[in-house]
Symmetry: C2
Subunit: 353 residues, 2 copies
Amino acid sequence: MANGGGEEVVSNKQVILKDYVSGFPKESDMYIKTSGSTINLKLPQGSSGILVKNLFLSCDPYLRLRMRKIEDTDELFQSFNPGSPLSGYGVAKVLDSGHPDFKQGDLVWGIVGWEEYSLITQPTTLFKIHHNDHVPLSYYTGILGMPGMTAYAGFYEVCSPKKGEYVFISAASGAVGQLVGQFAKLMGCYVVGSAGSKEKVDLLKKNLGFDEAFNYKEEQDLNAALKRYFPKGIDIYFENVGGKMLDAVILNMRVHGRIAVCGMVSQYNLQEPEGVHNLMSIVYKRVRIQGFVVFDYYHLYDKFLDLVLPYIRQGKISYVEDISQGLESAPAALVGLFSGHNVGKQVVRLTTS
Amino acid sequence: MANGGGEEVVSNKQVILKDYVSGFPKESDMYIKTSGSTINLKLPQGSSGILVKNLFLSCDPYLRLRMRKIEDTDELFQSFNPGSPLSGYGVAKVLDSGHPDFKQGDLVWGIVGWEEYSLITQPTTLFKIHHNDHVPLSYYTGILGMPGMTAYAGFYEVCSPKKGEYVFISAASGAVGQLVGQFAKLMGCYVVGSAGSKEKVDLLKKNLGFDEAFNYKEEQDLNAALKRYFPKGIDIYFENVGGKMLDAVILNMRVHGRIAVCGMVSQYNLQEPEGVHNLMSIVYKRVRIQGFVVFDYYHLYDKFLDLVLPYIRQGKISYVEDISQGLESAPAALVGLFSGHNVGKQVVRLTTS
């Protein structure tokens, strides 16, 4: 139950979407609203909401999809409203709660506003954080949050991997890719990742245990690059980018290969998505291409934690984060995803406490 | 064991591929070799081959793929050799056999040459016909042969259909499509097919029990056409054509929809396959696109016959064939597949007996 009665109105800085975005998003597509937005930190009597202080915000590629005007009500994501704050995954502390499942002082991760404080009225995607003993709280925007669950569900549930298989991961140093690669190594697979800079390639090979990695921007011919790293072909492709990379990968799949698709970040800023031409090869090779959405797998979250927390504690899995400081840095951090500015999971830290 | 010893050399008319084909195949890409080709109808002592007289030849779209120069040894199909006869599925009678599994007088279906008589040295794809009591022999090139198994495996094994689901089939009056539609109706699905003429559309609706059918050539906007027939979307798409149709279908799939791909006939005559642009939708809709090859399912052939033969005998499944007469008609029959000339399964009958 909300405490009720009290009044504690404070200002609440927000990241506002100016207007629907087309093409590459720019920092100027958003602005920071510093005055005129306030929030009462005490819930009114009888409220079933949850009032949180946001600690970390997560920059995820799918947010770009919500910055465009979405006409189709069937789509998974709804548009942000121009003039209103963005929202997305974050880590937060409960300041007041009228909801039976959450109480003051709880740490949570889930969907919050891009603002200092959020009132959550429908906690459909809100998880209590129980395991904060050995891991940074920011991990709940990444390895222990939505991207981690995406890697887990996509790799183990969608791809049905087997020891010794050949695994390729695009956007491999990103929030999801770096974890898929480490899962695959722990399973005894051969793992190659692609990324967009030498720094990221080095990270994959030296810090994250990938067998090989390459900078796709330096490859004239992606098909040839893949043939170099996979002379026997690819069993599992964890697809994060789409477009030309997907077309090249399809040509290099092995018989009964699997492609798990959770997103296609290379396509999000295009007015017209690139065409994929080589689909006929999935017939010869009996390839399965499976789209999936992490929401469908959240019931496995506890099982996921049981797997991944020991790995983290034992140092068998690392996680690279790129943390920017302050709500004001959020627009640049988000925009940076699409030029590959971030190295590892992009997080925004809102408080120093 | 082959009878051995004897000599019975006869002439053996053949359909010869002139040269590798690019673009739409033409009758003149093949010729009938009437003289200079002979065959001994008695196997030599010790042979383990099977000598057959071909009764029916099957015209299948995949044959087009073997008419081009295939460099990739990994591909499922190898090129035909210019100057040599084509080969493909057919129904034949065993004249002599040195193979323990086949004896003189057996009726068989499987891979034979496009010629009057064939010597089969590797009977890897050769099935004995046991059930010739109630069905035409030509059915073993269609409903009871490779296309039938393709429909069966693709629909039941790949698509995991459920009663009441919405099923769309392209090339729906073809050798495979007409059977998929009838399987789907028998399962209690809502079934719509596309085809390329009014005659075929009528056939689907009036003779084959499809709920609806449309002529894709008369639709300006395939997406709109699909929305008209599937206001709630498509659960299962049995893909035979690829290209623009696939792109439109992807936009209309329902959540957890399945697309079984056994071929993409609209693409076979193009130098560069069309691009498919809407793949991102498979993420939102959690769609599975599964390439498959009928060869992988031939171990289910007896199970398939147990299902389909009673349906045929009870009149619950019909099958439309387009039978052309004589080996000389084979090039035109094959070429006609790609202009949609055939109505139903295209077969070539070689003998009148």
